[in-house]
């Protein structure tokens, strides 16, 4: 089966979800682009968008329409060539509208899973629940005569388990996009001992056409991305608790301090608690629950997460993409408060921000901001200067940051010694391209 033939009938499970909608967008665009090639004009391309949530599917179609317009506006030069034979399409307006229709026309939204029985390729992006994944994939596989390939977007479940439990025998691989898939360039590729060479070659070609960077990860629960993020997050939770105890301050103040340290001092796109909220406290807990049994020498869980879930505070995003409140409270994307786990309400940032900032101490003059440095050519130099100044400071913020940076490096090195990643470079690439960090966790900045 050629690349084109494989992509003539595709299904996405969980298509209305955060990850599923992004995968659907990228795949729909790739399929529509194939359909526009002269040699494919008579072929049909079908992309089933399957989800249990009809309202979510309606939202998905709106999301697609907006996003495909943006895609089209960026490649109008190419589109004018692709539609050169269409005399009725003259202006960019006409051509972009036609392209949006052609992409949407590939997509078949629906709640019935049976349509996947005809597909050659199935993307799985349902919730991070091993038995659910196994159940869905085995049901499809029993009813699908095409011997399809399964690309699972799981961020934690070992692929070999899905393979054996669903009876997929070499036809499944981990193809892990990062959130949001349309923006983040990273895809973690996880194969098993049995995964077919053709499926791997296809996955590589598909990723290349989507302009994604592939990093191979070995088949350990959590892989490289969550292998680092989860441990980094646990460190943040522990540090917040310890800081609250040591300084005898309420936990919400410590949460604010650790979040500020991880964002401003470590020059990251968001602080660790904001990132947990962004991913969703529930999702973080799911992932830890999957990973924990596979790492008997570690305790991959934290009471604070359980408490937040009990109190019904989960973070995550609205279907509009707006951030829901979690550890932190948000207004138009900005942090305006922190959850008080004892009194169970948000405390306004204004009430305690200055006090906490004073505790952390002043940032050195060499301070750099993530947004400004991410594309700066002298990034390494500027970061080194800033981190050197942090190391020579005894201010609370600086001390916490250096400790955090060292721990982050340890986590990265352990991923290699545990053989989750083949090399340090892979760990750093994942954090740079999947988490948009300005520098890889394994570095010499904090030594």
């Amino acid at each position: 089966m050629t690349y084109e033939e494989r992509l003539q009938n595709v299904s996405v499970l969980g298509a209305a979800g955060k990850m599923g909608s992004g995968i659907l967008l990228l795949t729909a665009v790739e399929m529509a682009d194939l359909s526009l090639k002269p040699e494919n004009k008579d072929k049909s391309f079908v992309l089933n968008a399957i989800d249990i949530d009809p309202a979510g599917l309606a939202g998905l179609m709106k999301y697609l329409r907006e996003q495909v317009r943006k895609v089209a506006e960026k490649k109008t030069v190419w589109l004018r060539k692709a539609y050169a034979d269409r005399d009725d399409l003259v202006e960019n307006y006409d051509i972009i509208d036609e392209y949006i229709f052609d992409v949407l026309n590939v997509v078949r939204p629906g709640t019935a899973m049976e349509v996947a029985y005809q597909s050659n390729l199935i993307f799985e992006a349902v919730s991070e629940n091993r038995s659910l994944k196994v159940k869905l994939l085995s049901q499809i596989d029993k009813n699908n005569a095409n011997k399809p390939w399964y690309f699972t977007n799981t961020s934690s479940v070992p692929i070999n388990l899905i393979e054996s439990e669903a009876g997929l025998d070499g036809r499944v691989l981990g193809f892990h996009f990062y959130n949001p898939p349309a923006v983040q360039r990273l895809v973690e590729l996880i194969t098993t001992e049995k995964t077919s060479e053709e499926a791997i070659a296809f996955a590589q070609e598909y990723a290349k056409n989507l302009k994604k960077i592939i990093v191979p990860s070995n088949d350990h629960a959590g892989f490289i991305g969550n292998g680092h993020f989860m441990r980094d997050a646990l460190h943040g939770l522990k540090e917040a608790e310890a800081l609250a105890a040591e300084k005898d301050i309420p936990l919400y103040k410590a949460v604010y301090i650790i979040n500020s340290v991880t964002q401003d001092y470590l020059v990251r796109p968001m602080g660790i608690f904001q990132l947990i909220d962004y991913v969703g406290i529930d999702v973080v807990q799911f992932i830890l629950n999957v990973m924990n049994p596979f790492n008997p020498d570690e305790e991959l869980q934290h009471d604070l997460l359980d408490k937040m879930m009990e109190q019904g505070v989960k973070g995550g995003q609205y279907s509009s993409g707006a951030q829901k409140d979690g550890f932190l409270k948000y207004k138009s994307g900005k942090i305006v408060g922190v959850w008080d786990i004892h009194k169970q309400h948000y405390v306004d940032l204004e009430q305690f921000k200055d006090e906490c900032d004073e505790m952390m101490g002043e940032l050195p003059k060499s301070h750099v901001v993530w947004k400004n440095i991410i594309r700066n050519k002298n990034k390494e130099e500027l970061l080194q200067q800033f981190f050197n100044d942090l190391k020579s400071s005894d201010a609370l913020g600086a001390v916490l940051a250096v400790k955090y940076g060292k721990r982050s490096k340890e986590i990265g090195e352990k991923l290699v010694s545990d053989k989750v990643a083949d090399k340090i470079d892979h760990v750093n690439t994942v954090m740079l391209t999947g988490f948009y960090h300005a520098y890889g966790p394994v570095n010499n900045f904090f030594d």
């Binding site: 506006e73 109008t76 030069v77 004018r80 005399d87 202006e91 960019n92 307006y93 972009i96």
Partner: protein
């Protein structure tokens, strides 16, 4: 041309800010003032200098594509919105693509000569940031022949002038052409920084020339032979000026030395359905400039400054050659040597031109006249250049489409 039956003057010029990318206060996603605001501001800006609306006999407004950018036609109806006393007086709008402003000037001049008016409020306006550039390209493509749109580039006009640049590179050499074009860009930035209304007034590039030289055209992302720095900007703006007879000047109480006299002009049209004979050369602009100078009885060496239509840097280079300032193929060298810089032999586009000041398409022709009026009467502020007594004339050249609708005017301080 026969001797003019009356003397014609221009005075009381006014420019709004040319709004768009480059201005610090411009935010593409925030609401912005519409076309009404710009017409009103520019109109009032002129009225304030001429003693109010009672002095105006007639108004004319140049505009290219409000019908698409703003879904608005019947623009003369907006003139009384500037001041209610303009209601019940004549008003007209004129269109000739990016040459609309030039046509508005010609309309005002003709009305004064026809003795149907002594004071004509003459304006140009365009508000283009209502759509993204990729759709704006469709709208601006209306300056070309629609029958050729299908085969044209996504960015239609950059595509047309990219073809001209490509032909020029091939005929005369890529490196020197790019140097001349980079210098043209650098001059535009230098001049625009000196004019508070310029779109590039806030420009802080440390070395515009080096940047423009370093940036290479990339056909996969844009057009084959131009970079974005070779192009004028997407702009919202309006300009206005009063066109008067001698009696008109007396009526508004403006001294002749605060006005420029229109010494001669030419209007030249090339057939829009024909491709340029040689893409490395302009035809209409040289003809218009030559005729305008003949009608004014002057030669190029008596002209001290020129505002030329540099919608693209290559258009500036080709105009230099078309004016005879440099031989064919040597315009790029001439520009690169600094001859068109503000302190060069022939300062051109001294407030930034279309690339630096901005290009609110229908307003550009009027903006050019305002700049020449400012320079010849010593009102250009920080952008003021030295006008010597032996070369006291100024010239504007306004072009609609690809060398199609051209107006050239020669001025001298009154």
């Amino acid at each position: 041309m026969k001797k003019l039956r009356r003397k014609v003057y221009m005075t009381a010029g006014y420019n709004t800010v040319s709004m768009g990318t480059g201005r610090r206060e411009f935010h593409p996603k925030k609401p912005r003032p519409g076309i009404e605001h710009y017409i009103k501001e520019a109109g009032k800006g002129v009225l304030d200098q001429i003693g109010g609306p009672d002095k105006v006999d007639e108004s004319v407004l140049g505009n290219f594509m409000a019908a698409r950018f703003n879904k608005q036609a019947n623009l003369p109806g907006f003139i009384p919105m500037i001041d209610e006393k303009l209601q019940w007086k004549p008003a007209t709008s004129v269109e000739g693509a990016c040459g609309s402003g030039g046509l508005a000037l010609m309309y005002g001049v003709r009305s004064v000569l026809a003795e149907t008016a002594d004071v004509v409020l003459t304006m140009g306006v365009e508000v283009q940031n209502t759509v993204k550039a990729i759709y704006g390209a469709d709208i601006l493509a209306g300056a070309g022949w629609y029958q050729k749109r299908k085969q044209g580039h996504a960015y239609f006009f950059p595509g047309q002038f990219s073809d001209r640049a490509g032909a020029y590179y091939e005929k005369y050499g890529y490196d020197k052409a790019r140097k001349g074009m980079a210098r043209w860009f650098a001059n535009a930035m230098e001049n625009a920084r000196l004019d508070e209304t310029a779109q590039e007034h806030h420009n802080t590039l440390p070395d515009p020339y080096a940047l423009a030289l370093k940036m290479k055209p990339n056909g996969a992302a844009f057009v084959d032979h131009l970079t974005v720095l070779d192009c004028s900007k997407v702009s919202d703006g309006a300009s206005g000026i009063a066109i008067c007879s001698e009696e008109g000047l007396a009526k508004i109480g403006v001294d002749k030395k605060d006005a420029v006299e229109v010494m001669g002009w030419a209007q030249v049209i090339r057939d829009i359905t024909n491709d340029p004979k040689d893409p490395a050369e302009l035809e209409a602009i040289p003809r218009a400039a030559k005729q305008a100078m003949e009608s004014a009885g002057v030669t190029i060496d008596q002209i001290g400054t020129i505002e030329t239509h540099d919608c693209f840097s290559i258009a500036g280079i080709l105009a230099v050659e078309g004016l005879g300032l440099a031989k064919k193929g040597e315009g790029a060298d001439w520009v690169d040597a600094g001859n068109t810089a503000r302190d060069g032999y022939m300062p051109m586009n001294t407030t930034g031109g279309l690339i630096g000041w901005g290009h609110p398409t229908g307003a550009t022709g009027v903006h050019q006249a305002v700049t020449i009026w400012q320079q010849l009467t010593g009102k250009a502020g920080k952008a003021q250049i030295n006008i010597s007594d032996d070369r006291p004339y100024g010239m504007t050249i306004n072009m609609g489409g690809d060398d199609v609708t051209v107006v050239a005017i020669v001025y001298k301080r009154g």
